[in-house]
Amino acid sequence: MKYVLLAVTALVTLAAAVLLGPADVPLGDIVASPIVWQLRLPRAVLAFLVGGALGVSGVGLQALVRNPLADPFLLGLSGGAGLGAVAAIALNLPGPWALPLAAFVGAVGAMALVYRLGLIGGAELDPRVLLLAGVAVGAFAAAVTTALVSLAEATELRNAFLWLWGGFSGASWTTVLVFVVYAPLPLVVLAAAARPLDLLALGEEPARYLGADVRTLKRLVYLAASLLTAAAVAVAGVIGFVGLIVPHLCRLVWGRLHRTLFPTAFLAGGILLAAADTLARTVVAPRELPVGIVTALLGVPVFAFLLRRWTVS
């Protein structure tokens, strides 16, 4: 029943995303309208896919660092993406794909660095070491980013800054295709890790005694979840709170088993981000808010509520 409700909500959200917008498209013309086919539909689909990816990534990373208040961007990814994006602007890299690619490279670079630091001295991706490494790499990236900002042109930086806050105004069927080709591999890796991640919640030693190969598990989950987040950054900027709140809400409704959490977090994340994007482009139409601002405005109160629940229990 709850699953049916989730699936129906997903369809309703996508339908609303297609129907609503500054340009008035009569219901009868929906099927033929180029506004719908070339703008709204790919945009809604992309927002849904990115939201789903962030939800799944959040579930994976929370299980990995064994902290339900972790966010996919916690481990230095947003800092790396920001550095990449600003570097692309500062260096005047040409072409429409320069910014997303540079952000992707920055995020993956930060991921690789945090990963390497997480293995130092046999730490084996110890959550505490990972979190500290994430903070350190994020701070370093922020410092370099600010150094670049102090050297670059102001107007272009505004673009980079707004781009980082997330948005789908550049969405096209090409971006959807890129994402659809890229995302399945990390998604399948995470799906395969669902059961052993249930064991990891007990602790590493109990998980190993119950049959999980914890070393490999942690590496695969870290890489898959981070690569998924990096792809989300590349096509849509840094969109916070989806990967933090969606796993938590799904856990409240569906329990803690990852075989249910991954698919429900994908759908719920998709719904949340498609809805947030519809808001972002309609509330101040014809202008647009960065979607990351909408998710933060919605997400922070929910986060405060969850934090309270968490500390009280």
Partner: protein
């Protein structure tokens, strides 16, 4: 010698990286099907490390551990989890969970990567719950259980793995008398009824003496004594290992230890 040899630890020595002394020194242990072994010893005597080394979580620097004739380090974790079920001393419960779900985690080594839970798995879970006298707890939340109930549920989870050997690391710490006794009775019953091997790490010298077939006494990482309770638990050995004067009496043919007051009781 007709019983199957499940675990053979011979002369293992372990040292944690950076430590100055060996945590285990030349310790041996053989567990066969249908045998209940108790491992006793003061805190820090290497009891938990012995289990870790025996089951391949810690690489010994000398000696070797074989499970069903194969070196522990050569086993994959999944395969090993079908042979040995462990109740570690500590584990976390980050998220609320029901008892039946918890026991189902024990089926992990039997499930395929993307396959679902089969009828046989559900049946194994119910059998394990019944065997551990926990069937009426199945729908409860884990956090509503008492300490004794919780340990029975964890034992059921280990049984759901359908192992040949059970290892329990101080399962009765902080339990009261009745729950202590129930757990020892339960393990003894499983060993006798199903022909399992069992290793139980405990601080209960007297319960170990009454329930176990063999006792291994560890002190400072060395085996102070090993064998049948009556041979191992002599006054000299127990006083030396636990550094406290004791009297040894007999009950039901088994040695029982009474710690002495320092002044009044000492002969």
């Amino acid at each position: 010698m007709d019983r199957e040899l499940i675990l053979a630890v011979s002369g293992i020595t372990c040292r944690y990286p950076g430590a100055r002394r060996d945590i285990l020194l030349d310790v041996s242990l053989e567990v066969r099907a249908g045998e209940f072994h108790a491992v006793l010893g003061p805190n820090g005597s290497g009891k938990t490390t012995l289990v870790r080394a025996a089951l391949g979580l810690v690489q010994p620097i000398k000696g070797q551990a074989n499970i069903l004739g194969r070196p522990a380090s050569a086993w994959g974790r999944r395969d090993l989890a079908r042979v040995v079920g462990v109740l570690p001393q500590r584990e976390d419960n980050l998220f609320p969970q029901r008892v039946r779900e918890t026991v189902l985690l024990g089926r992990y080594p039997h499930l395929s990567l993307f396959g679902g839970v089969r009828v046989a798995d559900r049946a194994a879970v119910e059998r394990a719950l019944v065997a551990c006298d926990a069937a009426d707890l199945a729908d409860r939340w884990l956090w509503t259980l008492s300490g004794g109930e919780y340990q029975r549920v964890r034992l059921a989870r280990a049984l759901a793995q359908e192992p040949k050997l059970l290892v329990l690391d101080e399962p009765t710490t902080s339990l009261d008398l009745r729950h202590d006794m129930e757990l020892f009775e339960l393990v003894r019953g499983l060993v006798d009824a199903h022909g399992l091997g069992a290793i139980l790490i405990t601080h209960h010298v007297n319960l170990a003496a009454r329930f176990a077939d063999r006792v291994l006494l560890l002190a400072g990482g060395r085996a102070a004594a090993g064998g049948a309770p009556a041979q191992v638990l002599t006054r000299e050995v127990v006083e030396r290992v636990f550094a406290w004067p004791v009297a040894i009496t007999r009950f039901d043919g088994r040695p029982q230890m009474t710690p002495l007051r320092k002044k009044e009781d000492h002969p």
